[in-house]
Symmetry: C2
Subunit: 626 residues, 2 copies
């Protein structure tokens, strides 16, 4: 394995054949893509692209609406890339046509700043213009890749060229760096896709200028930390501020570090990853503990009932991880990507595929929400909602889920030099390029529901196949063509180097037992409590499965034996757990000087991502330890 030279393997090189992600992708293609489209149509997001809105009309365009549209296009395009669909393509063509027709002759494109406040273009860094531009670029590349049509890409490049001139060349905008990052990673993608160096230079400019400009203002109610401009990026050693912005920036920084091989920037990316995963990430891979600024807070701060954990933030964390694993071979990046994807990201979408959570708390108490809902506006607290909804005012998460699920194959493999890294496990066929060779692999697995993964090679050649042993796995068995080989991992990977033959078979069995976890003693919310996982899945309990027993009072023994079974939850089959647990008997006294009598009962748990699909009910992840 060579350091510094990781290369992504695009989802386009793989086809999800079966297993967990086949179900997710089919649902997303059949339901989510259309549901998000319909909601955006209804709410005027598509209409806005016509730029015919006038004062007094409904659906005034919002500063970030373009990003919703182009993120949906990006997601839909990932599905089109796999299977053409004239109807879906026509919908996108119509939207792209609107952009072509309404794009300013100088390249500018944003409905709000065209029909509502045309004089305010590029005057307020906090107003998401460049964030929208970033998503336009990503959508355009995806659409070109899917269909070969380059009209959206031309729109995006024309806009990018305007931005390059205004920001990097002429400095004629009123600010220097965007308040909501995203364009940095998008420009790096555009640079790689087009080979045009100016896009690299512009990305580099935005990243390097951040935190150095006195023209970069904040919202009145926020600060520079909120938008990661409190320090030059190479001095940022803790994850601060708005969590989605932070992780989009860090992803762009990782792209830049990979490209330039700069030691310092690489080290900062690693430091930020460690600050997040060792101090500021929920066990579900959720980040951004607070609704106040949707932001990171301080080390070991993990309130459960008010955990914000925006779906987009965990998507962004996975994006950051996928870049870090190109920089160095370390299984912890895929561990964290999986933690985010299998728990918080998927919690963001209902099992029916058409409803969404923006926030993903670790526990909910319907009594608290009911009380809060009964309060007048001025006396409400901000609480996560208890049931997913079809669309949000700020509806960034739904199309972000579409593009993430549509391109989930991006998380399968990476390469570096002569090594193929098997990062995350999915049932998929892949044909990838390695040192000039074309390698075809058939991966078969029920992961994350089962720990068996096999690969059958459909090519031959001398190369190294690096198999990841996840951090949660205590015991792994590895066979090559039926013969056991040592499964001792080095930073999370077992390296198998040989002259591979067509038909060679690698079998991995990850021991996937149910495990209890405790939080660091510095976490005030988890002291005395344990969380339950199996493989990468975090489990939770819901009142609806447990006779509405007060879940916070449930005690689980460290040595408890869990029963695993497949069961249907809201029509979806999944691995659920049962365990003998205990809780106190109901009692009348508010405070009692006697230790409450415990009763034993069977606690039922389900994967966290599947919570809240059967009505309003209590939910909890952290149980008392016994």
């Amino acid at each position: 394995m060579e350091k510094w030279s990781g290369k992504p393997v695009s989802f386009a090189d793989s086809t999800i054949i079966g297993g967990f992600w086949k179900t997710e992708q089919d649902l997303c293609r059949k339901v989510t893509v259309n549901a998000v489209y319909d909601r955006f149509e209804e709410t005027g997001r598509f209409e806005a692209l016509k730029m015919q809105w006038k004062k007094g009309m409904p659906n005034q365009p919002h500063i970030f609406w373009e990003s919703d549209v182009t993120k949906w296009i990006e997601g839909a395009a990932y599905f089109l890339k796999k299977e053409r669909d004239p109807e879906l393509e026509a919908k996108i063509d119509e939207l792209v046509g609107r952009m072509e027709r309404t794009q300013d002759t100088n390249g500018y494109l944003n409905a709000y700043f065209t029909v509502v406040e045309p004089k305010a273009r590029f005057t307020r860094r906090t107003d998401h213009e460049l964030y929208c531009a970033g998503h336009l670029i990503e959508g355009a590349i995806a659409y070109k890749e899917a269909t070969g049509k380059d009209n959206m890409l031309r729109v995006a490049m024309k806009y990018a060229d305007l931005i390059d001139r205004v920001f990097r060349v002429e400095h004629s905008a009123a600010f220097d760096t965007p308040g909501h990052e995203e364009i940095e990673l998008a420009l790096m993608k555009l640079y790689h896709y087009t080979g045009e160096e100016r896009y690299f230079k512009l990305a580099e400019y935005f990243i390097n200028t951040r935190g150095t400009s006195d023209r970069d203002e904040t919202y009145s109610f926020t600060d520079q930390e909120h938008m990661q401009s409190h320090l030059p990026v190479r001095e940022q050693v803790t994850a601060e501020g708005h969590s989605v912005r932070a992780l989009y920036l860090y992803s762009g920084m990782a792209d830049l570090a990979l490209e330039t091989k700069e030691e310092k920037l690489t080290e900062i990316c690693r430091t930020l990853f460690e600050n997040i995963t060792e101090k500021r990430m929920y066990i579900t891979g959720g980040v951004g503990s607070t609704c106040r600024g949707e932001s990171f807070t301080f080390d070991y701060d993990f309130p459960e009932y008010t955990a914000y954990n925006e779906t987009c933030a965990s998507i962004a964390l996975a994006l950051f991880c996928r870049r870090l694993w190109l920089i160095e071979a370390d299984g912890r990046y895929a561990d964290t990507a999986e933690r985010a994807l299998y728990n918080t990201v998927l919690s963001g979408i209902s099992l029916s595929g058409d409803s969404f959570f923006y926030e993903n708390p670790l526990a909910v108490d319907p009594r608290r929400n009911a009380f809060n809902d009964s309060r007048p506006e001025g006396l409400k607290e901000h609480l996560p909602i208890l049931e997913r909804v079809k669309v949000f005012g700020c509806s960034c998460c739904p199309p972000n889920l579409v593009r993430t699920i549509g391109s989930i194959g991006d998380y399968l493999y990476s390469t570096a030099g002569n090594t193929i890294f098997a990062q995350c496990y999915m049932d998929a066929d892949t044909t990838l390029h390695l040192n000039g060779k074309t390698i075809t692999l058939q991966e078969r697995t029920e992961y994350p529901c089962d720990g068996k993964i096999s690969w059958t090679l459909k090519s031959e050649g001398n190369f190294t196949f690096a198999v990841r042993i996840p951090g949660w796995c205590d015991k792994a068995e590895l066979l090559v063509n039926g013969e056991k080989v040592p499964a001792a991992a080095e930073k999370g990977f077992v390296y198998l180097e040989r002259d591979w033959k067509d038909g060679d078979r690698i079998e991995l069995e990850l021991e996937m037992k149910v495990k209890l976890w405790e939080g660091n003693p510095e976490i005030v919310d988890t002291c005395g409590r344990v969380a339950v996982t199996r493989g990468p899945l975090v489990y939770c309990a819901e009142g609806v499965d447990n006779d509405d027993t007060p879940l916070r009072d449930v005690r689980i023994d460290w040595d408890a034996a869990f029963e695993l079974e497949k069961a249907e939850v809201a029509g979806r089959e999944m691995p659920v757990l049962k365990v003998q647990a205990s809780r106190r008997e109901a009692s009348k006294a508010l405070y009692s000087d006697r230790k409450g009598k415990k009763v034993s009962f069977q606690l039922k748990l389900l994967p966290y991502y599947a919570w809240a699909n059967r009505g309003v009910t209590e939910m909890d992840v952290w149980f008392l330890e016994k």
Copy 2:
């Protein structure tokens, strides 16, 4: 004992001789009375009474400033009643003189509605005019009682007469009942003091009209529940809304029920007391769980870090209890009054006597406050402060503490028929009136630091002496003239009826062991946790005494042996506790699949009321149970 006919025994009939409350009263007289005066002087509250403020001048009078002034006068007067002091009296005379000079000829008195918004008098029920009037009445009675001077009383009566005319007779105000209760109980007091029935009628009118008028509006950001006008008072069966308002109202309702002997209203008072003490009261006697509206929330809702628990609300709870114990002989009322007084009320004032808490949380995490303090205004959460301050913008609690401590003897005894009820225990000499007899009692005790209480009679006669056995006490020993008598309590009291002789001696020894308590399983915040009490005192631990060990991780065994010792905390001697406890070793991992190794250490605890007197440090009341 006769039901329905309880009579209060005024603090004026007692003199605190020594013990716990002597220390509190001396400090209050020497420090607090003057400190509050000085802060009110500095902030313009006294100057405002001159009613010479004009636009552009500093210290614009606030709608509730009169209540601060008159509550301070009331408190100072309680001390004057015990010991005349020309200097203090002169200060009050000056303030009363200002009121006399600036009171409107029609009786109206409120600086804000005289110099700032004179046209808005009696137009907004949410603007505290009648609340201020109530405190004026209470202050005036106290001052007349202390000095014999009736000029403040004349001011108060003149104002009360205006209010009677405007509200009850003419209905010429823009609303019918006040948004912030207080005047109801004050009018009942004025009725008893003057014998003028119109004050009774006005109190009754305000209480009976509440919740029935469509002219009674709310703040834009609140609702009728916030000010207890969501229902007629006889239909209010749960404690709702702003906790101080609620408890001032309930106190007035109890006054009315006692006076009229109305069964329904009595039952409602009992129901509200039970809702509070069985569902909505912290173990420290704190009430009003949330800062949002300073209000009651829902059953079993006891967040610890954000517990609001306003000092005034616990004072008001004690006031309600003191009225309830006149309605019926039940020790639970004094139990609750003590819970409030010895914990949350006294937590409201520093051991130095000059600094105050408005909010009294059950746990604090200085990391959370430090982070929050670093946030820009728009991203801050409301958190309790960590160190007491000298004065607040809304500085109701400091003078409320002065009047509570000054008149603490009000909590000593009550009578009913031929029975003296010993309600709360203090080291005091008392001469009270019982059925035409004058009875002198010498009570000696170090309570709440020690469980021994003795009474020596300095009178003779046939009567019943009812000794309260607190609810927390499992074993009590009672001696009369050295001979053991059965200490079996009936609803919290042991009744000793005999022909008492001068020199008779009653000795009570309450077993005062350290006890652990658990919360009801429905309380999400206390599951798996225990609180420590000894007698009426709730204990807490502070980081400063415990090497900054993470207190939330501390585990206490239900069978642990506590060591009691007297120790100095910030210069005050008090009973502190030590116990062998355990906690996990510090760890690097954010989440660990291994049960953390425990280390045993000596946990030091101090009475909750003494917390936060030695700088910013972590504090916790609920520990993990082992």
